[in-house]
């Protein structure tokens, strides 16, 4: 069983990894990361990215990657500090489901820490596999409890 400290340490590792990945992707010299790059749509619906500074095409489909790499006026949409603040704000304010969607490995760790004081569900409990049907007046709907093994497994996994 992993103790709270180990889980917190793992969460910190995961969080740092995601932040580094975000910084790496967002600060990379690419057309879509530049503040001067804008998407324009022509009358026939075709879209293209142009540089508003020198009014030339700067699009990944038209050698934009090389152009951005060597561009002297490239300027990222957000700097490192702003990206870090955004990331921190997201993790602190987003719903657990949103975090789980964007960072699948982070949300379960946060969930385990939230439930640290609660009793651990025993996976060998025979009643856990017993589905629970709640009869409702509406004929189209029943509530069916998923066998809890996968939850308890997830829980056990963090605690081993």
């Amino acid at each position: 069983m992993k103790n709270e400290g180990a889980i917190k340490y793992k969460l910190k590792q995961v969080r740092t990894r995601h932040l580094h990945k975000l910084l790496d992707v967002s600060l990379r010299k690419r057309p879509h990361n530049c503040i001067f790059n804008e998407r324009r749509v022509s009358q026939d619906g075709a879209e293209i990215h142009i540089c508003l500074k020198d009014l030339t095409i700067c699009d990944v489909r038209f050698e934009g990657v090389d152009k951005a790499k060597g561009c002297p006026i490239f300027s990222p949409i957000k700097d490192k500090t702003a990206l870090k603040d955004d990331f921190r704000e997201f993790v602190e304010t987003a719903s657990r489901a949103e975090i789980a969607f964007r960072y699948p490995d982070m949300a379960p760790l946060m969930w385990v820490l939230d439930n640290e004081d609660e009793e651990v569900v025993r996976s060998d409990d025979p009643f856990l596999d017993e589905p629970d049907v709640v009869e409702e007046p509406a004929c189209i709907s029943v509530v069916y409890t998923v066998p809890a093994r996968w939850w308890s497994f997830l829980f056990k996994w963090f605690r081993k």
């Binding site: 719903s95 949103e98 789980a100 049907v133 709907s141 409890t145 997830l154």
Partner: protein, 183 residues
Amino acid sequence: MNDLLQQLEPDPRITKSRGVPLMVEFPVNTATAPYLVSTSHGLLWVREPLANQVVRAAVRHIKDDGPFFREVLDEIIGMGQEAKWGNVSEGTHKGVNQAIEYVRSYDLPDIELISAVKELDQVLPGLDEFGGCPIHRVDWMLGDMVVAVPADRSYVGFLSRFGSSRAISVIHNPSRGLGVAKK
């Protein structure tokens, strides 16, 4: 095991009195979002459970498991690439190792590989085992990919049949339970 998902018998109490339900609610944990559920005609991504912590899945026509598993895989691959979960790697030996590592990063003890039959497999042709994981050859899989899954499929999701042609499915760990190496 040759299935992508756990095959779960529906509770007889569900069908006993009222026949096959149109829709079933399943309690879930928010931390495991998103969920991929069956609808009456296809599959639907549910990014957040309802307020009472349940997701709704519908019973739909599923005659054979194979095409349905392929449909599930296509959805997970598409969303994984879009959301950059890191669960989809290139269809090489290195990519298969990455797919295994992706699932293993959740400390799951036993991991298996699912792949097309040897004659069709373009990623790991002729092998019975790779990276310490047994390879299960299935006829429903296309030859351009290999999927790493936990041996205990209940970790990924389930398929529950009502008779021979109708079923309901909830994939409650689509973002964590599968690693795919695809050409």
